[in-house]
C-alpha cells in the first residue's frame, strides 16, 4: 500500500521570545474583538460605537470604575483559587459550587450568630467560608486520589447539588418570614464588610485588600515554598513526583483544599460585601469565567488579576451596552468565548512551525 506524503509538515519551535509571544496573544485578542465586531455589524449595530459605549460604561466615571472593581474582586480571587488546582492539572471546574458552599457557611453565622462582636463575627464568617469551600472541594479530590474518580464531572455535579441546597434553604428553613416572595433575609449590619477607600475611586468593600494580599501570597507560595514546588512537579508529571518520594495524594488533597477554600472565601466576601444576603446567584458564573482567566493568564497570579480586571470591564461594559443599545448582556459571554478560542488557536503558532515538504528534505 502506497501512502502519499503530506505536503506540509509541522515541527516544534522554541525560538519565540516571551515578549513576542505576548504580542501574538494580543493580536489574537484584537482579532477576537474584530470578530465580535463583525457579529455586531451583522446584527445592525456600529461595532465602534458599541465598544466605545462598553469602555465608557466600565471606566467612564468614578462610580462606574467602582462597579467594575466590585466585579473584579470575586473574579480575580476565584481565578487565584482555580490557578492552584490547574497548576497541578487537577480540573477543578467546581469553583462555582465552592463559592456557594463558602457563602452558605458564612451566611449561617450572619443569620444565627449576629450577637458576636463585629470583628469576631466577620473573621468567623471568613474562616467558615474558607473551610466550607475547601471541604466541598475535598470531596472530589479524595475520590480522585482514592479511586481515580473523574474530577471534571464530579466537581461540576457538586455545583448543581449545592445550588439546589441553597434553593432548599431559600424556600424552607431560611426563608424570610415576612412577604410572600421566597427570599432570604438581608444581613444585619454586624455581618456586613466594612468599606475602605480605594485610590481615586472611593469607598470599596474590604475584599480588594483581601484580593491584593492573596495575589502576593499565591505568588510567593507557588514560587518560593516547598509546597508550591510540589504542586508544579505533580502537575508536570505525577510519576516523577512519586519517584522523587513526594506524597502525591496528600499534595492533591492539600492543594484542592486551598484552591476550593479561596473560592469559599469569595462566597463569604460576596454575601457580606455587595450582596448583603444569600442568593441563588452568589457564584454568578464566576467559577467558569475564572477558568478562562487563568488560562489566558497562563497560570500567572499577577496575570490572572490583570485579566480578571479586563473581563470585569467586559462584563460591566456589556450591561451598559444592554441599557443603551438593548443588546443582551450575554454578549460578554460570547466575546469571552471568541477571545479564548482565538488565543487557544494562536498558541499553536507560538509552539509549532509549519514547513513545506521541500524544506524538510533539505
Amino acid at each position: 500500500m502506497r501512502r502519499t506524503l503530506p505536503q506540509m509538515h509541522i515541527v516544534q519551535r522554541s525560538d519565540i521570545k516571551p515578549l513576542n509571544a505576548w504580542g501574538y496573544r494580543l493580536l489574537a485578542v484584537l482579532f477576537a474583538l474584530s470578530m465580535g465586531g463583525l457579529f455586531l455589524l451583522i446584527l445592525g449595530y456600529n461595532p465602534f460605537d458599541v465598544y466605545a459605549t462598553m469602555l465608557r460604561g466600565a471606566l467612564g466615571s468614578a462610580g462606574m470604575q467602582k462597579e467594575t472593581l466590585k466585579l473584579t474582586i470575586p473574579l480575580a480571587l476565584t481565578a487565584l483559587g482555580i490557578l492552584l488546582a490547574f497548576k497541578m492539572k487537577f480540573w477543578n471546574i467546581g469553583a462555582e459550587g465552592q463559592i456557594a458552599a463558602g457563602a452558605i457557611a458564612a451566611s449561617y453565622f450572619a443569620y444565627f450568630h449576629a450577637d458576636l462582636p463585629k470583628t469576631v463575627l466577620l473573621l468567623t464568617m471568613a474562616a467558615a467560608g474558607f473551610v466550607a469551600g475547601g471541604f466541598w472541594g475535598l470531596i472530589p479530590a479524595w475520590f480522585k486520589t482514592r479511586f481515580g474518580t473523574n474530577e471534571t464531572l464530579f466537581t461540576l455535579m457538586l455545583n448543581y447539588i449545592i445550588y439546589y441546597f441553597i434553593t432548599y434553604l431559600r424556600e424552607g428553613p431560611w426563608r424570610e418570614s415576612v412577604g410572600g416572595f421566597a427570599a432570604m433575609p438581608r444581613f444585619p449590619k454586624q455581618a456586613r464588610l466594612p468599606e475602605i477607600p480605594f485610590p481615586f475611586v472611593g469607598n470599596l468593600h474590604l475584599g480588594w485588600v483581601v484580593l491584593l494580599v492573596m495575589m502576593v501570597l499565591v505568588f510567593i507560595y507557588l514560587r518560593y515554598t516547598k509546597q508550591g514546588y510540589e504542586i508544579t512537579v505533580v502537575g508536570e508529571n505525577e510519576r516523577t513526583a512519586r519517584y522523587a518520594g513526594m506524597p502525591v495524594k496528600r499534595i492533591i488533597l492539600r492543594t484542592m483544599f486551598l484552591s476550593a477554600g479561596i473560592a469559599g472565601l469569595v462566597g463569604m466576601l460576596q454575601v457580606s460585601g455587595p450582596d448583603r444576603q444569600l442568593t441563588d446567584s452568589v457564584g454568578g458564573g464566576r467559577g467558569f469565567t475564572a477558568i478562562s482567566i487563568v488560562w489566558l493568564a497562563r497560570l500567572s497570579p499577577f496575570g490572572s488579576v490583570a485579566v480578571a480586571f479586563l473581563f470585569a470591564i467586559l462584563q460591566k461594559g456589556s450591561s451598559m451596552m444592554q441599557t443603551e443599545y438593548r443588546i443582551p448582556a450575554s454578549m460578554s459571554d460570547i466575546l469571552q468565548g471568541i477571545i479564548l478560542f482565538c488565543v487557544l488557536g494562536a498558541e499553536f503558532f507560538l509552539q509549532y512551525r509549519i514547513l513545506k515538504r521541500k524544506e524538510v528534505a533539505a
Binding site: 480540573w91 424556600e171 454578549m331 460570547i334 487557544l344 488557536g345 498558541e347
Partner: protein, 322 residues
C-alpha cells in the same frame, strides 16, 4: 388500582420524554470520545442547536429547516472544537469548556434578541409546527394495552433518537468504519500506521457528534419547552449527558437505558404522591446530579478493563511526536 396504573403510565411516559435530549447528547459524546476527543462542550452545542432550531422554526415555520439548522448549529460548535483540538492541538478540556460558555452566550443572546424584537415581547412557535413534532400514532401498535400509549405514541425525534442509538451500536461493533474509529480512539499512532486517516476520522465524528447534540437542543426548545423560548433553557442537561457516557460505559445501547433512568429521575418530583413522601422539591431537582455523582464514584471503584474510556481520549494526536 386503576388510578395507580394510570399514574405509573404517566410517569414512565414523562420519563421517556425527558430522556430524549439526554440520549442525543450522550450518543454524540460517545462518538466523539470513540474518536479520542473528550468534548466538554455538549451543553454549549445543545444551546446552539436549541436556539438555531427554534429561530428557524419561528421565522420559517418549516420542520425540515428547524431540524437541519439545529443540527448545523451543533455541528458548527463542534467544528470550532475540532479545528482547535485536532488541527491546532489546543487543550481539549479548556476548549470544550469555552464552547459551553460560547454556546450558552450565543443562545441566550439570540433568544433574548428575538424577544426584544417580537411584537408582544414573547416568542413562541406556531401550532402547526408544534403539531409536526407532537406524538404520532403507529398504526396498530398504539392500540395495544399499556405499552401502546407508552411506547408507540411519541414524537418523531424520540423514535429517531432510539434509531440513532441502535444504528450507532451496529456501526461501532459491526462496520469496518466503526472498527477503524475505535482504533483511532484507542491508539491513533497505530491507526495511522495502518493507513487510517486519523484526522479525517476525528473531524467527521466530532462533527456528527455536534449535530446529534444539536438535535438534543432542538428537542429541548421545541418539545420540552413546548416552543416557548426561555433563558438558560438547557440547564445542565448537556453535563448529565457527558456523565451518562461513563454510566453507559461507552455503549450506545446502554446509553438508551441510562438516559431513561435519568429521565425518570428528573421527572420523579411530579409523580410522587405528596402524602407518601414529602420531601422539599429542591431535593428532587438535586436528585439527577446526586445520582450522577454516585455513578461517577461507583464506576471508578469498579473499573473493568473492557468498560473504559478509549485510551487516547483527552490527548491530542501529534504525528511528528510519535
Amino acid at each position: 388500582m386503576n388510578g395507580f396504573m394510570d399514574q405509573l403510565t404517566a410517569f414512565l411516559y414523562a420519563a421517556i420524554l425527558a430522556s430524549v435530549p439526554l440520549l442525543y447528547g450522550t450518543l454524540g459524546e460517545i462518538l466523539s470520545q470513540k474518536a479520542g476527543n473528550l468534548n466538554l462542550g455538549v451543553e454549549g452545542m445543545m444551546y446552539l442547536g436549541a436556539v438555531a432550531g427554534f429561530l428557524a422554526g419561528y421565522h420559517t415555520n418549516s420542520l425540515v429547516l428547524t431540524l437541519l439548522l439545529g443540527m448545523a448549529a451543533g455541528a458548527f460548535g463542534a467544528a470550532i472544537y475540532a479545528l482547535l483540538t485536532v488541527a491546532l492541538k489546543a487543550n481539549q478540556n479548556v476548549t470544550g469548556l469555552t464552547l459551553t460558555i460560547f454556546g450558552t452566550g450565543i443562545a441566550n443572546f439570540l433568544g433574548e434578541q428575538a424577544k426584544l424584537n417580537a411584537p408582544m415581547g414573547t416568542v413562541f412557535l406556531s401550532n402547526e409546527l408544534k403539531a409536526l413534532l407532537s406524538p404520532i400514532r403507529v398504526a396498530g401498535l398504539s392500540d395495544l394495552p399499556f405499552i401502546g400509549p407508552l411506547l408507540f405514541h411519541h414524537s418523531i425525534l424520540t423514535y429517531l433518537a432510539i434509531l440513532c442509538g441502535i444504528g450507532m451500536s451496529l456501526y461501532l461493533k459491526r462496520s469496518h468504519l466503526g472498527m477503524n474509529l475505535r482504533a483511532v480512539g484507542e491508539n491513533p499512532a497505530a491507526a495511522d500506521a495502518m493507513g487510517i486517516p486519523v484526522n479525517l476520522y476525528k473531524y467527521v465524528h466530532i462533527l456528527v457528534s455536534g449535530a446529534l447534540s444539536g438535535l438534543g437542543g432542538v428537542y429541548i426548545s421545541m418539545v420540552t419547552a413546548s416552543g416557548n423560548w426561555q433563558p438558560n433553557i438547557i440547564s445542565g442537561q448537556g453535563w448529565i449527558a457527558i456523565a451518562l457516557v461513563i454510566f453507559a460505559s461507552w455503549k450506545p445501547l446502554r446509553a438508551i437505558l441510562g438516559s431513561l433512568v435519568f429521565g425518570a429521575l428528573s421527572v420523579l418530583r411530579l409523580y410522587i404522591p405528596k402524602d407518601l413522601i414529602d420531601i422539599p422539591s429542591a431535593f428532587f431537582s438535586m436528585l439527577p446530579f446526586v445520582v450522577t455523582s454516585l455513578v461517577l464514584v461507583i464506576s471508578s471503584i469498579r473499573m473493568k478493563r473492557e468498560n473504559q474510556q478509549p485510551a487516547s481520549c483527552g490527548i491530542n494526536y501529534f504525528r511528528e511526536e510519535r
